[in-house]
């Protein structure tokens, strides 16, 4: 489909390591991973997929207003998410549930948001610097670039101290590459040589519009025009996602400027639960990508390394437990107080909001009295 000769793949669809000139720079990064991290990759992919299905079901049962599935994109997200260091800052779009989980976000916060209880509301300092979802397509690219400019001004780039040097990692999709903000982010990032990795998940569809409408050239070729080095990877290969993001972040933290990764993956599900992909895409395409499923491939790799059934059973149980827990906790959710309408519109006191909050409180109280 959209793989090119340039596509970096460390793991073949059969689950064996690919050794070539193209993979040579990245294989040492994989060799450097200890076994527990390799197992984490699998655990996170499986667990989030089960969670994702459960959340979709909860939406169908009327518990959520919306769900945004990440089915099929687990490898792109898990690999890149694990490549970031604790001091790095991650700016997601809105589908990177597992990256949040890796960084310490309770995925229930996403369920709460899509149930209509919050607009996100998590505190990035408490979620491993995983920032809030941004629903206007591509806006977060500029926030990540500005944040990275600040890192440079603060001198936390290129010191050589692995505890100090930091970068930002920003996620966006193929549709977002048409947005002005994403392109302006490329301009600013190149101009200020920000410590930053742009991570494009090309899942081939912006709701119903195929990537060919966004670009006539492979998207990884675009950054060259901005002066940003780029690489295209098999986004269903968790090892390629990890290694290229790791290399990109290392370069960015070292002061070499921004990097760009195009991860070729596929949105196996709908854009959101409000969408119906049968109206615009062919089964044949979906079949092509399901044969390249990121979890199946990685399981084959782990089994080839001698990982046994016990581990896979344990992960399956963990996934079921998380899904059951999410269901139980979702059913226990209560609506926020109406005072939340007026809270935190501003940081400093604001007379108009205060006045309207007081008015509504009195209005509500009037009904309570009338009803009592």
């Amino acid at each position: 489909m959209s793989y090119t000769e340039a596509t970096v793949q460390l793991l073949s669809p059969q689950g064996s390591l690919v050794e070539s000139d193209a993979t040579a720079p990245y294989l040492p990064l994989i060799a450097g991973l200890d076994e527990s991290r390799l197992l984490d990759f699998h655990r996170q992919m499986v667990v989030i997929r089960r969670f994702d299905i459960e959340a979709g079901n909860l939406q169908r049962q009327g518990q959520l207003a919306l769900w945004i599935p990440s089915l099929g994109q687990e490898a792109a997200q898990v690999g890149s998410g694990y490549a970031a260091r604790s001091q790095d800052h991650i700016f997601p779009a809105y589908r990177e549930h597992v990256v949040g989980r890796i960084r310490g976000l309770d995925p229930m916060r996403i369920i709460e948001m899509l149930r209509g209880l919050s607009h996100g509301g998590w505190v990035p300092e408490e979620t491993g610097n995983f920032h809030l979802f941004t629903l206007v397509i591509g806006s977060q690219a500029l926030h990540a670039t500005g944040y990275a400019m600040g890192m440079r001004f603060d001198g936390v780039v290129g010191t050589g101290d692995p505890e100090v040097d930091a970068a930002t990692l920003v996620y966006f999709g193929d549709g977002a590459t048409s947005q002005g903000d994403v392109n302006e982010a490329f301009v600013f990032a190149a101009s200020y040589q920000t410590p930053q990795v742009f991570f494009l998940q090309n899942n081939h569809w912006a709701i119903s519009v195929p990537v060919e409408r966004q670009s006539r050239t492979p998207l990884y070729l675009r950054p060259a025009g901005f002066g940003i080095p780029s690489v295209q990877i098999d986004g269903n290969d968790v090892l390629a996602s990890y290694a290229t993001t790791r290399a990109g972040l290392d370069a960015a933290r070292a002061g070499e400027g921004p990097r760009f990764i195009e991860a070729l993956t596929y949105r196996m599900g709908a854009h959101t639960t409000s969408d119906d992909p049968t109206k615009y895409r062919e089964d044949e395409e979906t079949r092509f990508w399901s044969e390249r499923d990121p979890i199946t491939r990685y399981e084959a790799y782990l089994r080839g390394k001698g990982v046994g059934d016990d581990f896979f059973r344990e992960v399956a149980v963990e996934a079921e437990d998380l899904a059951a827990d999410a269901r139980r906790r979702t059913l226990a959710l209560t609506d926020p107080p109406t005072s939340k309408v007026f809270a935190h519109v501003y940081t400093d006191a604001h007379p108009l909001v205060a006045e309207e909050a007081a008015w509504y409180s009195a209005f509500e109280a009037g009904y309570e009295e009338a009803g009592s």
Binding site: G150, A185, A343
Partner: protein, 326 residues
């Protein structure tokens, strides 16, 4: 108290310098603001003084300026963005209204966004299209933003520092036709709070309210009216969001007549909000309907016609007469 005479452009420049000196997290960003000092020279000398990491000559992209300022604010900076001209703010509109304005709410208060957006605005300078507009109502309409406009050099000096000190995003509209008129700046005085409106001339028969460059016109109109035996009170709004209605209400309770003037088009404008609110809160004090004097509901015309478009002393006095004759 030390008082010095200086034009507003210089006063804002000094206010920026004071804020940058007091707080190393304050940085300036915008097009041509560094080496050139801005097309109106409001940031003149600041790059030389504070360096290129605190006075950024950015790429030419307004959304990029505001969007990266948001990221810098997340990092702990207090960015002050310059939008070169009023009519150029719209490429940045989405980042201002959908992101900057809503991010504190989205974060449920855990993160403040102290970003100031300076906008030279308004007419009377004979410039080409997109260089003389008054777009303040768009921003006053948006929850999460604060919107202010100084009318004097003293307010320019103090209000820019107060805007930078605010923990919320502030749209800072600078009346560019007033950049070059000198006024006294009391640089060790006690400033009026940022969001207070202020009576700048007392009178008994009609209340005139306006902001920015309009305040000077209102004062001129009041002077002419006084010569004709009409006593006019003038209020400088200073803050467009939130609006401080107390001095306006107090004045209207005294005069019973209110005329609101602005360069911006009248339809769904700051003047409309004042007229509605005063009608709601001071209905029995009013002896005439609240009248609006504004730019027309047309695009800003070619410069040779701006005299017909922009409210002037005659149009203000016509409204005063109409109100008194009601």
């Amino acid at each position: 108290m030390t008082e010095r005479m200086m034009p507003m452009a210089k006063a804002i420049n000094e206010g920026l310098r004071a804020a940058m000196t007091a707080d190393p997290s304050v940085l300036l960003m915008g097009e041509d603001i560094g080496t050139l000092g801005g097309v109106f020279r409001v940031t003149e000398g600041l790059k030389a003084e504070f360096g290129e990491n605190r006075v950024l000559d950015t790429p030419l992209a307004e959304s990029g300026i505001v969007g990266t300022a948001i990221g810098l604010a997340m990092r702990g900076y207090r960015p002050v963005c310059e939008i070169q001209f009023d009519g150029f703010i719209f490429p940045g509109f989405d980042q201002i209204t959908s992101q900057l304005a809503k991010l504190t709410y989205r974060h449920e208060g855990s993160q403040a966004f102290p970003v100031v957006i300076r906008v030279p605005y308004g007419g009377h300078i004979g410039a080409v299209e997109h260089h003389q507009e008054s777009p303040e109502a768009y921003f006053a309409h948006t929850a999460g933003l604060r919107v202010v406009s100084p009318a004097t050099p003293n307010d320019g000096y103090w209000m820019i520092q107060q805007a930078i000190a605010s923990n919320d995003p502030v749209l800072f509209f600078e009346p560019k036709s007033r950049y070059w008129q000198k006024g006294e700046v009391a640089d060790d005085g006690v400033p009026t709070p940022l969001h207070q409106s202020r009576v700048v001339r007392t009178g008994t028969q009609v209340t005139l309210v306006g902001h920015g460059a309009m305040v000077a016109q209102l004062l001129q109109a009041a002077e002419v009216a006084a010569g004709e035996g009409t006593s006019v009170e003038v209020i400088d709004l200073r803050s467009l969001s939130p609006i401080d209605f107390a001095p306006i209400l107090a004045s209207v309770q005294k005069t019973g007549h209110l005329v609101v003037a602005q360069e911006a088009p009248g339809n769904v404008s700051v003047g409309s909000e004042i007229a509605a609110t005063i009608a709601e809160r001071a209905f029995f004090s009013l002896e005439a309907p609240v009248l609006r004097v504004s730019g027309f509901d047309t695009p800003f015309p070619p410069a040779k016609l701006e005299g017909a478009y922009l409210p002037d002393v005659d149009r203000i006095l016509e409204a005063v007469d109409r109100s008194l004759a009601y």
